[in-house]
């Protein structure tokens, strides 16, 4: 059942309220800008699409247009952060941190300055734009960098809070956002703390821990509800922070349930699946089933079609949970 203490929407399963996580970013970064004059936003010719335009409208003097130049955007932001600003750099995740990875590595992560890399159009939810614009490797890229915090919000409301929290953490941080509208599960009252995973759902006697990130958390919840009705209990965890992982929550749930499923809209290699597998292999060896992209590129299509085609739908998560339950020691 839904865990009450997190104040999720009461109508969460109706999926009425939908918004892209990038909208949450747009709101959150404006709020961060109001709270702290050091916040600046950089855009690489995608202000409307990344929702950076809201900040541009309210704080034109703190908005920096760099043109179609993501390497320049990262390095200009590095300089601004070294000075004392809190720069949010906005583009599509395939370009930032894709194209400008080395600039981020050297001038932001190794240099250890608090630039916030906001990767939009992450995952298959990018839809019709096709494989070139669907970032399925961004988490792996940033997760391998020392000093980097990695956040993947599950809905627009959490996206807003993530932007606000990132503005305050004083660290190099990656924020992952999606293009398409997805159900809003959380409310303004839902707590958000970087590095603290949240158990959204927990059955009595759960047999499988489902670790999900991004908008697919919703699919994981639907799968959990369906299985509970059939007598298979699960716990569904919203792993919004992929680095640092919430070791305590993840390991204790793996121990309690005895099997795990990871769910993400990203390559399993280097993504949440990889991260959870690394952690559990060390601390609590557990059978794991992975729902994610299996070493493939995306393609054009409607987000719903793509989610089904690449095996990330509710039925796929249900099947993975059943497989995991069978593998329990």
């Amino acid at each position: 059942m839904i865990q009450k203490d997190l104040h999720l929407r009461e109508d969460v399963f109706e999926g009425k309220e939908k918004a892209p996580t990038r909208n949450g970013f747009g709101k959150g970064v404006v709020e961060a800008g109001r709270a702290d004059a050091r916040v600046v936003v950089l855009s690489a010719d995608l202000a409307e699409s990344t929702r950076a335009d809201a900040f541009q409208k309210e704080f034109p003097e703190r908005f920096v247009e760099v043109g179609v130049a993501e390497q320049n955007m990262a390095t200009v932001a590095s300089g601004m952060a070294a000075y004392g600003k809190i720069p949010f750099i906005t583009s599509y995740a395939t370009f930032s941190p894709g194209r400008n990875w080395e600039q981020i590595r050297t001038t932001i992560a190794l240099n250890n300055v608090p630039v916030k890399i906001c990767g939009m159009h992450a995952g298959l939810l990018t839809g019709p734009d096709g494989a070139t614009h669907q970032a399925l490797e961004d988490i792996a890229l940033v997760r391998a960098m020392p000093n980097m915090i990695v956040i993947s919000p599950c809905d627009a409301e959490e996206g807003r809070k993530a932007a606000l929290a990132a503005a305050k953490n004083g660290l190099p941080t990656y924020l992952r956002f999606a293009r398409d509208k997805t159900p809003v599960m959380t409310t303004p009252e839902t707590p958000f703390e970087i590095g603290k995973a949240q158990v959204f759902w927990k059955s009595k006697n759960p047999k499988v821990a489902v670790f999900a990130t991004g908008p697919l958390v919703y699919n994981a919840l639907l799968a959990a509800r369906e299985l509970e009705e059939k007598g298979i209990g699960t716990a569904v965890v919203n792993v919004h922070t992929i680095k640092p992982l919430d070791r305590e929550t993840i390991v204790s749930l793996a121990r309690e349930t005895g099997s795990a499923v990871t769910v993400e809209e990203h390559q399993i290699t280097g993504g949440l699946g990889g991260a959870i597998a690394e952690l559990l292999a060390r601390e609590c060896p557990t059978p794991i089933e992975f729902v994610g992209i299996e070493d493939k590129f995306g393609q054009s299509g409607e987000p719903k079609e793509l989610v089904e085609y690449y095996g990330l739908g509710v039925s796929h998560i249900v099947a993975a949970i059943k497989r995991a339950a069978k593998r329990r020691g």
């Binding site: 760099v66 043109g67 130049a69 320049n72 300089g79 601004m80 952060a81 070294a82 600039q103």
Partner: protein, 285 residues
Amino acid sequence: MTIIDEDVRRIKLLANSIRQTIVRMLAAAGSGHTAGPLGMSDIFAALYFHVLKHDPKNPNWPERDRLFLSNGHIAPVLYASMAHSGYFPVEECLTLRKFGSRLQGHPERELLPGLESTSGPLGSGISQAAGYAYAARMDGKDFRVYVATSDGEHDEGNSWEGAMFAAAKKLGNLTQIIDRNFIQIDGNTEDVMPLEPFGDKYRAFGWHVIDIDGNNIRQFVLACEEAKTVTDKPTLIHALTVPGKGIKSIEHDYLWHGKPPSKEEEVVFLKELSLAREELLETIK
């Protein structure tokens, strides 16, 4: 700030000391780049002992001028200049590239007070300095931002992205000093990937360009002065330098871009530099 003959002589002597330290530290390290640091010693001596507003005893002084080194591989000239001006003991230079040293093979900001950035991977310094200058101007700061770059790193697109950005934002508080020595690791720049007409490219990009002999201290100091008078454009000091300057046998030889002197060469090089120092002292008398 003007410059009188006495200043020039003093800075020449300091440049000679910096060159001797560079030779010693590279020989001790057993790896590293020689030509660039020797070629830029006159400019770095002038920066640290005349041009920059800075305080070695208070490296985080908020009003200091900022110097970014983009081509981090010439770190020996930066470290030697910092040491001679009092940031840390000159003898620490001999720890260059060694385990546990603050003097990493390429500069790391977090390890050594006085560094403005971590650098080495080429082409990113102009943008970092421009971002810094942009942020400083937002807050009405009046210190200057300098960035030392190399010609070879202008093969990188990021350099030109930064150049466009700095001109577009009219960063009059930014001065770039290009070490135009015509060499890179694989050969002469005009053979590897031609950059000429280099100064005109920057003029076309909207920069104020000042052409100088990069081993002429007076010309360099005056160029820094001129840059301060141009408030609506970034300035490029287009410094034609002699790579390996001070050691006749290696000057202009691209093979010395990325290797250090051996222990035997160290002795020979130091002797040549000591003789030059004596000649300098003679002229002062």
